[in-house]
């Protein structure tokens, strides 16, 4: 199942089952991801020499300016409609690292073997994806460029871990897995709506497309684990055993 980022914000806001503390950190991370859209729109329509503004506000101002400008000045040359390839590289690396760090914390803290197995898989897979991403951008001679979105991801991940550190036992497991479900939904949403459409280099775009099924599988796994924890803790992957 796939939802839009906006749907996801609404769900987070209305889902009373999520712990309040998790909601805060998820929204922080999501806000970082969503910052992509307005900031990119701002960039594409901002007149040359215009000053930077808050992302949402800047977007609205830039759109007004663009509409007014169209009556009195030549249309500016088309600009990329989303993050640049160096910015995408930084976002991808940050998004993976956030999940690696959360996974390492879960491996250390959980006593639930299914949660531990899931956390180990997150560390293995996201480490592998980051290795592949770094190898690709090195080959393409693309230097990752940090943005508010990538910095926000890192900050949101640190905030999440700080809150998880204070939990133990079943409370920790639930908070970690709930966050993994929400985080993967958010990342898949932004990957689909922002990063893949914006990627300019064909190999980078192909890599982003190729990695999405792994994130989809992680989400499916996390949702099964979440249901298992809520139902008393049976095997989350029992239906998949050979």
């Amino acid at each position: 199942m796939q939802i839009s980022s906006d749907d996801f914000v609404s769900r987070i806001a209305s889902d009373s089952s999520l712990l309040g503390l998790m909601r805060t950190s998820i929204v922080l991370v999501l806000a970082a991801l969503l910052a992509l859209a307005p900031s990119c729109k701002n960039k594409s329509t901002e007149p040359a020499g215009g000053s930077a503004a808050g992302s949402a506000m800047g977007s609205a101002v830039a759109e007004t300016g663009s509409a007014m400008g169209s009556a009195t000045a030549p249309t500016p040359p088309p600009a990329p409609a989303g993050p640049t390839d160096p910015q995408i590289a930084a976002i991808v690396v940050a998004a993976n690292q956030v999940d690696i760090d959360a996974g390492n914390l879960a491996i250390k803290k959980t006593k639930n073997p299914e949660v531990k197995k899931f956390a180990e898989l997150m560390v293995t897979d996201h480490t592998a994806v980051n290795k592949g991403a770094v190898e690709l951008v090195t080959k393409l001679k693309v230097t990752p460029e940090e943005t508010d979105a990538s910095k926000g991801l890192v900050a949101g991940g640190a905030d999440n871990r700080a809150k998880l550190e204070k939990l133990d036992g079943a409370a920790f497991d639930k908070a970690y897995v709930d966050n993994e479900v929400a985080y993967h939904k958010a990342v898949i949403g932004v990957l689909t709506s922002q990063l893949i459409p914006s990627a300019q280099n064909a190999e980078l775009k192909s890599t982003l497309v190729g990695v999405k099924p792994a994130f989809d599988a992680h989400l499916e796994h996390a949702e099964k684990l979440q249901a298992s924890l809520e139902g008393g803790g049976g095997s989350a992957m029992a239906g998949h055993k050979m």
Partner: protein, 100 residues
Amino acid sequence: MKLGLILLVAVACGSNKPAPKILHVDIRGMKFEPDALAVSVGDTVEWTNQDLVPHSVTSAAFDSKAIAPHATWSYVARTGGDFAYNCTFHPMMVAAIIVR
């Protein structure tokens, strides 16, 4: 002359048995492609991991352990049977080889 005829018949009979083949399965997008493959005893099946994450090819009869991204693992089908397999890392990935 008689010996030559015997040799010719022997070679002709031998050529009826198909040579072992190498068949390929791609691991791509968290799927095995194809997800069902019929092979003959003696054939080699070669799996190549085209994903960025590690996978395995694991059944009751064989186990590749972790196959790194872009790496390949081979299995020679020596006994007949239907062999369902999955990836131990991502158990929702399932497929089968049918050895005849």
